[in-house]
Symmetry: C4
Subunit: 447 residues, 4 copies
């Protein structure tokens, strides 16, 4: 029951001066600290800003040539900038060049040798890798325009009256990123294991007198496109593994990045909701409601900024995920030879589905957190129901807040359900066609 | 016409004191009774609470190891709690163990003998049974956090000014539950009848000299997975029947439970709508509108609580229903041998469709009932149109109230229509493929 | 420009007394006339009420046993009632009996002779005919509860300040009904022409020495199910034609009835919108806005009443239309023999599509007309923007107004587009399967 | 931060008189200029009106008989009218006649020679061309009712306080139109190149002793329907090319026209949003908010006018685009002979997709621009939050603003995504059927 939350006015008046004094003193201290933070990178480092939490990932992305930023490890977000003449940009260009070469080589082979599933998927993988890379470079160009206001909001929301969350942003992002990384590495290792196992079986079958399986042979087959051009030595083996690994990493990094951004944003909306929840329980002057509303507008503007910079990446992420899932679903009825093949196939399918699901769930959390204050506001007592509160109430419900794929679809639970429904329906159709096809084959073979 | 609903103010003033006195006396009596109820389980038993109405079903669920609660028959909802070291939990664990064993055995057979429709459906049935069971145990853990606030709202809404409904909640739930139970039993009996009939025919065809159909043989075939491991005796026959019956019961119980919860919630929203309907016809002070609005918020919070605890069960229910319906639809063109087979097939298909329809219809009633006060509020006369009423009006339309499947879809008539449309479309496609397949078969057989 | 619509207050005040006097006199006259109308059927007859306009259709429906009402031609809507012991009910029962007999006979033949398209569609036609009939009888039972409030609203809205529409309701309904009737008759005639043509060709091919095509033979074939039971004479020929005609009529009548109801409702919403449009151009006292709002609530309540009574009929109408369209689409690639066959096939397909389209378009007009005052209200000048207007504005946008199919879908242009999209997609799939099938046939025939 | 946007009232008061004087003088000047513009076509020509920008396209459309308007080059929009007895109407009629003749001839050939993809698509192209033409003539009839109010709004929005956009409307429309035109010409040229290349190959294969490819032969084959009726001479060659070119042009013009209209409308909504954005930063009297709101209503009414006149054209555009895309997708697996064929096929498919995408994107810009002021309004300071602003805020979110296809669907990014999803899904199904078909063919060929 919320009937008696507003204290008796007289009781409240008694301690008015003392209370107001204390509050003013506190506010002044907070404002001072905020100003110090904004100017001083040392103090900023103490705070659980998004900049501090995302930094390791930016660093990692730079190694793979995805986000060519200077001073990426700097404590001040102002210094993290895109510079055309920098080591990172150089790295990115070399990377795009090598990727482009490999893609062209694969494409040439595809057109020469005719379309088949395996070469097709490689071309798509490498092409989408380059597209993603270019989009991330474009994101890097606008990164400082994004992270500076974000840090501004972080500085506001990391001091009272905003409560700190149970787990720090840094910890959340670390756990999310590491678990995603481990799962990716396992998937990549399983791919090689499955592929090597296939190669070994083939050798044993074809040349039964060979006792030792040559590693070089496997390399020659797996990276045929490379070793047809360059001599076989350890540098190029490393190069081949590196290039393959990097492009697998890019796709995974893209999804991880969307998840990290979503976690960062939803944490802030969650904090906003908590503050509103606390506010409705006590008497809140109009000025504070105004402040809350202004902070909410700031958050919405940050959301818009993220949306403008990220919506193309979100679209590419969803499209590539759906393509790879469909591709896996197409071969779901193919008989495989060995348990390791099954393990790889099912693990990678489930991992893909899980990753897509995680992207949608984390992104939809933003929208859900943004709607949380709505219920709380309805319990604001009548004498506090001022125009400010009314405007805040109206503002909360008026526009959609959340990530979208270039405005074509919103990342919500409902759109995820729609996507999954379509995929399942498609799979059922395939199943049916396959069953009929098998029956036809039987009929034909009987003839 | 609603023009003259507000009496002339003078006429109203005349009996003011008398009226107010009587009302105050009445209110005091009600509040006292409410307090007595909240403290005293005897008085609570007199009321038509949801706790009293759902009790028999909780009891039944406990027998099948689904809701391990202590004091399930207690009159006070405070005493119904989940305890780790209790008879119920023990029961649940044994149950999960036996179910798990059977599932693993069926899964092993499935992998050994190759995929076929009959064994596949058994594995899905038993797996989903275990998943449902685990979810219900998790619901049981949060049951006391759910039923205590619910009873609190029940105590509020079972006294004037809320009207009692025509039929008591207990009676509604009893009729709903019993009819669902009977239909389930009939379906289960038809399954055995159809299966036994098939067995008899097979025996008659293969061994024409046998005059008496051996019951043991049927048992051996029907419960092959059990009697391959244990000797054939009456205890294990009972065990086999019990396990099969229980897992069939679980699926049905899940749907019935969602329906019961929906009936309970929609009754309260209906009462709320009735009170608003009565309120708009007479002069209502602002304080009463405030009370109505606060009660509505309480109801919405209860709805949220139910949603948090039940949405996973709703999702599983819908998915399993759709799977079983699709499975039936796949074999709709298969020629069956005897009328009993047809009777079982069509009865079970219609029963499945009817059950799914009932779940959606009952759940959508909550949403529909929650919107009922909206129209009534528009007839509130202008002099009574205070800020409280305005806020109530706004509050009613601002958020979706109703059950959902983990937020992926809402249980409304429209989503039900969408689901049915997809199923019908799928069936039409199957029909078309089947017709073509038959034509091809004819063509092939002519060759 | 709408800047100068409010006259200068002084200018307005000058003629105040004269104006108010005249208006009061006029209002009193209108109210008197309204009261006279409500009591006197003679005066009511002069008005363009919906009752007067729908009367001929009710009469027609009674002849075919669909709406067993007494005093259907009466001028007073109070007298049009459902009576269990009346000629109409008797008619309906006989009708249902005959229809039921024919349906059972057709169903028996279907099960005996195996499923084929032609007998299947007859069974569906007759079954749906009976279902429609039962639903219309249930509508007839509630007809007086529907038409009396409707006439009440008609009486209000047929006097100033409501403007009369350009075309009277009676004329609109007459034109709509007659054109629908003619198209139906043409379709029915084409059916017999096509069927008789087929019969003649068959005779000519099989028995080339016969010079005269026997009419009796055609009757025997067309109405095989009847003339196997009863002797061939003119009474039973009439009976056969009558029964066939009636059931074709029922489906068409259902759609026509929905269209007529929609036209009637949308006319009233249109009048409401016109009044609001006129109101925003001049100074309107708050009391008048209150009156407008109350009339709007009355209209919405009438809409709810229609929705409760008609939504099952709307659902059946849509389902049967979709079934018959799909059925036609399935045979779209079948080679037909003669131009008359093509004429019948394409005419009946286009007629079906057109009828379905008309139902959706007319029904969606209600919703569109109900939203019309929204734009007008935004031009209400600030000094007239009272709470009443605000509430009216809010009320207009808060709930969906329009017909629905049991709440499963709304009859809007968008849902019509969704339906058509699904049908076209389905047809494309069929086309593709058919093309492939033809190719396979060619391949097989080459073998 | 927006905390300090409202100046201190005293500071503001000091310059009040001077400021108000200057503003009044400026306003008077603007109003005078506006009045002069409305009356004087010379002054109007100086302004960047939509009429001036669309004029060249109307002129072009008139040449191809699509928009029979008189005085199409006139500077005053009042003079651009549809006249029954004019050169343009005559032109249109001749054009429709010739088109109708060709269509009937193609249709006759289609029915005689049996349905095949190539002749089918020609018939659809010419039929849709005629339908589009008729719809454009109907648009021309209502053009003056559309362009006069549009110019009225243009005159309002081309003076301060509205800011001019970076690029003038004329320039935008010129660039859009020219680029669309060039792409269309390239597509048309590629069509002839591909078709001629096919013809040459065929000649070379069939008659290897011919050294020179006869142009006449190609003409005879390409325009068989024309040269079967008329003798082969340069006039009829021109006529054949002209007719073909025109009907290709019509489809493209329709899409271009929708894009141009959308650009024009979204520019105005963008200006409105800019004005609101500027208004929230300073103190704005209520009268100015009223003016803004009235201008917004004017814009919405213009939008409605455009919607009424254009929605049928939008529907036809979308339907024909989808048909041609589907048609291309159907033949995506067909093996083509020469690079030029591939170039034409892929260029025309991508061009079609791009054009459809452009139509949806440009049209959705209107809706997006209309929602822009919503966020800005939430930052209006509390002391300026008057009823006018509140009504404006409510007005912005209450109704959908944008183009639709006869109300059946809205041109938004989401509906575009839905359309593309369906197409991709359909293509995947085709792919699957094709793969299976190939397998069957292999199986059959092995037999």
């Amino acid at each position: 029951m919320r009937h008696a939350v507003v204290k008796h006015p007289f009781e409240w008046d008694r301690n008015l001066f003392t209370l107001l004094k204390a509050r003013r003193r506190q506010q002044r201290a907070t404002v001072e600290k905020k100003w110090r933070c904004a100017g001083n990178a040392e103090d900023l480092e103490q705070l659980d800003t998004f900049h501090r939490a995302i930094r390791p990932y930016l660093c990692l992305a730079q190694v793979f040539g995805m986000m060519p930023l200077t001073n990426v490890l700097s404590r001040s977000p102002h210094l993290v900038k895109f510079q055309l003449r920098s080591c990172g940009t150089c790295f990115s260009l070399i990377f795009l060049l090598l990727g482009g070469l490999k893609t062209m080589r694969l494409a040439t082979k595809l057109f020469q040798g005719g379309l088949n599933a395996k070469s097709m998927i490689s071309v798509v993988l490498f092409t989408s890798g380059i597209v993603i890379c270019v989009n991330f470079i474009s994101l890097a160009r606008g990164w400082s325009r994004l992270i500076v206001p974000w840090t501004g909001i972080d500085i506001i929301m990391l001091f009272p009256p905003y409560e700190t969350m149970k787990y720090s942003l840094r910890r959340k992002l670390l756990i999310t990123g590491c678990s995603m990384g481990c799962l990716t590495l396992l998937e990549h290792w399983l791919y090689y294991a499955s592929s090597y196992s296939n190669f070994r079986i083939q050798i044993v079958h074809c040349q039964p007198n060979i006792t030792q399986i040559p590693f070089k042979g496997y390399m020659m087959k797996e990276f045929a496109d490379i070793f047809e051009m360059v001599p076989y030595n350890s540098i190029f083996i490393f190069y081949a593994f590196f290039l393959n690994g990097t492009f697998t990493f890019i796709c995974n990094f893209m999804d991880t990045f969307i998840i990290l951004i979503s976690v960062g944003l939803s944490q802030r909306f969650q904090q906003m909701a908590n503050r509103v929840l606390n506010a409705v329980k006590r008497y809140v002057p109009d000025a504070e409601w105004h402040e809350i509303r202004m902070h909410h507008i700031l958050l919405c503007e940050l959301m818009d900024l993220v949306e403008v910079n990220m919506s193309n990446i979100v679209l590419i992420s969803c499209l590539s995920n759906i393509y790879f899932i469909c591709n896996k679903l197409l071969t779901i009825f193919t008989k495989l030879h060995y348990p390791i093949n099954y393990a790889y196939f099912w693990y990678s399918l489930l991992y893909l589905l899980g990753r897509t699901c995680a992207v949608f769930m984390c992104a939809s959390k933003i929208h859900e957190a943004s709607l949380l204050p709505l219920r709380a506001l309805s319990t604001v007592p009548s004498n506090c129901w001022t125009e400010e509160v009314q405007r805040f109430n109206h503002q909360l419900g008026s526009q959609y807040i959340g990530l979208s794929g270039l405005g074509l679809f919103h990342l919500t639970r409902r759109s995820f359900f729609g996507m999954i429904t379509t995929l399942v329906y498609y799979e059922f159709m395939l199943l049916q066609l396959d069953a009929k096809s098998n029956k036809d084959d039987l009929a034909n073979s009987c003839v």
